[in-house]
Symmetry: C2
Subunit: 188 residues, 2 copies
């Protein structure tokens, strides 16, 4: 069975600062038509930055949509035309004040593929050097560092609720978790 | 430092079938004002349904916002006033055709907390019995089953990109899977 839905028509009904909302009419696989609501988001990056001591930076920040303070890995939206790697370096620097010697891709995730186009590029940052935080205007957050293993437990027990943070931590653990417990990243 | 942002004013600028968009003006921790764009989503559920043979159901469906077919665990939006557990039982039945003897909560995740209010309740469904699929009108999908360990590998290698699916599989693995690295974690 074919699953594809073909766009017939559509219009943007909301243009905002971060998102736009588009409503399209589509042809379904059985030939009937339906409408599809699409929330367009520019996409972004999130960074698992691990210190030589095996600690990972998280930020506490107030998330207005939930009315609560969450704990998340450093992250941010792509500027128009920005390369995800450049964005990851920028966000790491801005939010934590660190630059890194290595920034390795961990993968790409879809936050909520039913209606939301947000695609997040996850990175692992290593060989960190502190050069000074520079937050965006109107951005308020607390930076903390926590041993990777402790964050893995907090993700597994659902103490951490942010999707990109749970996935970033688990992917970083899969990538570097084992060598680190052996007391060094072998050769590094 | 206080992180909270207090709502001063706001209005809904888009009312849609699935989401609404609200723009509020808020007082920042330093007393200045800013605007916050909020995409209101009703929230939903996602279900890791594991057969007695240790296989997990996933669905292939066309995700119009990405123009591609994704592989995801069964999931759906909450109806107004619907209990997440009832929604999980309903979505599992509708999409896969299975009912379950046990439906255990795995946790709650925030898909994209910067602007999007979507909160997803994850469940682990066990003791499955086939009674017959009943899809929503206009819903087209393929159901498959895959050994849990294989899905864990596919999540770790980023072959699966849907956030709730990656997290659901990893949490289910922590709950019911065998230790992945025997000897590594053992008596350590």
């Amino acid at each position: 069975m074919e699953l594809r839905e073909a766009r017939l028509d559509g219009q943007t009904l909301y243009r905002g600062k971060i998102v736009n909302v588009r409503v399209d009419s589509v042809a379904l696989p059985d030939g009937r038509t339906a409408t599809r609501e699409v929330v367009e988001h520019p996409g972004g990056v999130a960074v698992v930055a691990v210190t030589d001591a095996g600690e990972v930076f998280t930020v506490r920040q107030y998330r207005y949509p939930f009315g609560e303070v969450t704990r998340e890995i450093p992250a941010g939206k792509l500027e128009p035309g920005e390369d995800p790697l450049a964005c990851a370096l920028r966000e790491l620097r801005e939010e934590t004040g660190y630059v890194c010697g290595r920034m390795e891709p961990l993968g790409v995730i879809y936050a909520s593929p039913g209606v939301y186009t947000e695609k997040l590029h996850l990175y692992l940052a290593l060989d960190l050097t502190f050069v000074g935080q520079k937050l965006d205007d109107g951005e308020f957050l607390h930076v903390e560092s926590t041993p990777l293993q402790e964050l893995v437990s907090q993700a597994a027990s659902n103490e951490i609720k942010d999707a990109k943070t749970i996935i970033g931590i688990m992917l970083a653990q899969g990538r570097i978790g084992r060598p680190q417990r052996e007391g060094g990243r072998g050769g590094a």
